[in-house]
Symmetry: C2
Subunit: 594 residues, 2 copies
Amino acid sequence: MSTHEDQHTSVHSGYPTPAWRKAYRTGSRPDLRVPYREVHLTDGRTVPLYDTSGPYTDPAYAADVRRGLPALRDPWIRERGDVEEYPGREPRPEDDGRRPTAPGDGLRGLDAVFPGGPRRPLRARGGAAVTQLGYARRGVITPEMEFTALREGLAPEFVRDRVARGRAVIPVNVNHPEAEPVVIGTDFLVKINANIGNSAVTSSIEEEVEKMAWATRWGADTVMDLSTGRNIHTTREWILRNSPVPIGTVPLYQALEKAGGRAEELSWEVYRDTVIEQCEQGVDYMTVHAGVLLRYIPLTARRKTGIVSRGGSIIAAWCLAHHQENFLYEHFEELCDILRAYDVTYSLGDGLRPGSIADANDDAQLAELRTLGELGRIARGRDVQVMIEGPGHVPMHRIRENMDLQKELCDEAPFYTLGPLTTDVAPGYDHITSGIGAAMIAWWGTAMLCYVTPKEHLGLPDRDDVRTGVITYKIAAHAADLAKGHPGAQAWDDALSDARFEFRWEDQFNLALDPETARSFHDETLPSEPAKTAHFCSMCGPKFCSMKISRSINEKYGDGAAPPEYDEAAVEGMKAKSEEFAAQGNRVYLPLAD
Amino acid sequence: MSTHEDQHTSVHSGYPTPAWRKAYRTGSRPDLRVPYREVHLTDGRTVPLYDTSGPYTDPAYAADVRRGLPALRDPWIRERGDVEEYPGREPRPEDDGRRPTAPGDGLRGLDAVFPGGPRRPLRARGGAAVTQLGYARRGVITPEMEFTALREGLAPEFVRDRVARGRAVIPVNVNHPEAEPVVIGTDFLVKINANIGNSAVTSSIEEEVEKMAWATRWGADTVMDLSTGRNIHTTREWILRNSPVPIGTVPLYQALEKAGGRAEELSWEVYRDTVIEQCEQGVDYMTVHAGVLLRYIPLTARRKTGIVSRGGSIIAAWCLAHHQENFLYEHFEELCDILRAYDVTYSLGDGLRPGSIADANDDAQLAELRTLGELGRIARGRDVQVMIEGPGHVPMHRIRENMDLQKELCDEAPFYTLGPLTTDVAPGYDHITSGIGAAMIAWWGTAMLCYVTPKEHLGLPDRDDVRTGVITYKIAAHAADLAKGHPGAQAWDDALSDARFEFRWEDQFNLALDPETARSFHDETLPSEPAKTAHFCSMCGPKFCSMKISRSINEKYGDGAAPPEYDEAAVEGMKAKSEEFAAQGNRVYLPLAD
């Protein structure tokens, strides 16, 4: 159990600075407590910031990854009276990618899948629409809606309205009561997703749980578990029981494992079984590549980089092998009914997204997008929440077209994009090539951005890569919130700029997206503690501090008296002030005297 | 001299991969040899890329930083017959920030300013317009114009036309014959500048020369030496004599040193002396904050972050101390005549650029921009080349307005912007906050981007920061070249994407902006040599390789026969192909069998 002990330690490590403290806003009921991060400034003021890190960063909470997080939403779900416990599907060795007879190294007993033991899953009773979309349409403001409204500083009715229209989703499986609800839609703060997941080549359960907690600490709004290979069921169980954010998956990956890795042996039955397994575990949203139609596959033949989506290529391989229509498309309505019973949100996957600048916005991509729009209408017709996935690799001048077409073809359902990468020439820096595209597409309406780490195209991200990816995408998301004019978004920038102008270095660090990095970069050049309150930084040196000089101008002319306007009177007033200034010995130009 | 030996070694370290090799295109005369980088692929093909690294990366060149680079342009300059050698200004101890009597540690004898000894500077003879703008207006295609045309794959006459119109500049001081000419304008490849420079707090001459060479190796098109403090003249001399790219400065910084760091003791005479000193050394372009007018200063009083430009705040301090109009504005025509005699290009500085999201596009900024437009017309009227500097901190939705106003107010003179940063909340990651804005503004027309490193707002960049800043800005510039549709820009992306699709890992690394980083990231997960040719990467693992699956689709349907169209006939054809495919045992779905 030593690895679990290590894990316990790491997810319990708290915020990266003691100036960040957990706080709560309480809603209309005592158990509706919305967490946020309070940044404590040196002058005693506080700045509230959105927070995704869950109970781990609350010192009042004793974390134990072997028990999992508290079931925050359990009372909300049960008191609606429309779900029932049931025995659930029996876990099988192949859920973890094993043959019943395989001895395997380190095989866990199935009763040890999660130490808390198997739970009896919930599902809708008597065909009830237990989805947030269903409630919203019936005019009900759920605690989940109120939670997200409080989190964003908006009216609960506004959230209900946008969910009812399908313009926003709240991905909350009834079997993932640990998650803090988050609303995803173009009218809300831009969200980001971090992908984690082991693969056949590397990684372990412990590392994935740790990456999940780490990603949420830096700001990931959701996490997708893209694990393949061994222990896929067990890894997901640990992640779900310990995740304060919604968890997404691509069930096709596990289904393919069950089919022995052979795409042609996939079937609707194996897929459905996998989806039910994951619904019962509590997955909040699932990527479903139902728009990869048989007739679209030849459209990719002349592409520069063919099909780059794993899911898309698996479906394409199945379609070609059987010469049948995509079984996800053929069984889409049945799939809707399954997801509806647990309130699992669709993330309709773009299996034909472009994998290079050359392939952007081509016939294959746009044909699939049109189909995703149709599927979205079918899903919402059955009260299932829907997001639509988007590209990929797109040069800047073709990004807007993606967003506009998505709005038109998909009825303004939340768009969830990967990047897009704006050039192909910088492997090792694709968090940046894609961060550029992500900021732009989010400004134009994308609701959630799937992060890209520096290891994209090259390897699996480690802990540092996860942080770099999350911070880069928080930058893109926040830049878009500013550009969209989200109420209150700029208050954060203003607080940091005030601190910068007033030389409050500690406050600058603590208001930063990543205080640790900001502080360490500063300390490399000016390592001593007093430098953090020094009225200069190492770029300009003591004599040349522009902030200091202009601050003195600010003190002279911005002092609450009539503001100096750009007219003759002001010039006159300025002259008088300048003389007064000179009479004081021009002292503000001599920072060394400080 | 041991530090020089170290320096010698580092600037001589060659390309980051042996697959990059120096090549030349020869123009209309044998001494007009335009360097480029030839990327050698594993299949024997080559991809030509723009190269800024100078002779250092030519194995036929024996570098010696104590002698400096060869004077490439010397014959071009002299054979025009319009310049003369003259004794030049006598170097003085205060040029290096010293009092004549100060002992100082490590003081060099002035005769050792540059080991090659002082050169007799050149200047225009008899008031001739020796500027590229002057030649272009007279219909002359100079070797410099032809050089840049060959470098960009365009017609020399196109370059001449754009220079003549003031829509492009070629910053080439007659006293910096070592530099390889570069054309900067909206109709050309987007260029990037890297700032270097010691400050009173840290750094040394050797480090700055090394940073210059390092920055050009990764792609910096120009370098600005922003040194302050001691050895400012000597540092610049070493940089100029060893720089293969144009060098920019802000003469005000050195003038302030000469004024003892006291802005109010600055004068036109001290400034003019400094400009002449730098013109004689060979500085190619100079930032001049002539647009910070006395009456604009009160407009900054209510700003969130006042004046953040060092030059702007120095001028503001001088104006306030004297209550006189900016001496750079008052003496602008005289300054034009000085720059004209050496072909030094103006970079009209935006001393009132916004330093925070809150201050973007405010009255102070836009008033100054209008004045810069007026000054640009005066300068071009005297045959002096002009760039206009731009912000700063601007949220995405206000970036376009900056570009459009600049075009309107400044007659489409090349715009040279710092970022802009699209949010203030990420110190430690401002290469990314600004890379987003830089890509966008460059797409919309900005000609050159001044890089921002991760240390922005926090400290001085080290070697790694310089590389990160340069690569980030090369990404922004290239993304903009793609979006602008620069002829040939996409060929690079296509070559890399082909390599990716064909699993040519070595070629992917070697076509990357930063091969070292791409290779090392890949090797962290799959370190063995054979992995670089393995048909899978660590993200998907052996079974799940989407590239592999879709490549097989490509082989089936993209085989030179009639392309499958999106119609019934194609579906039929596809069916036949699929059956043929199945008859082969579905082998492409079994990558493990390979």
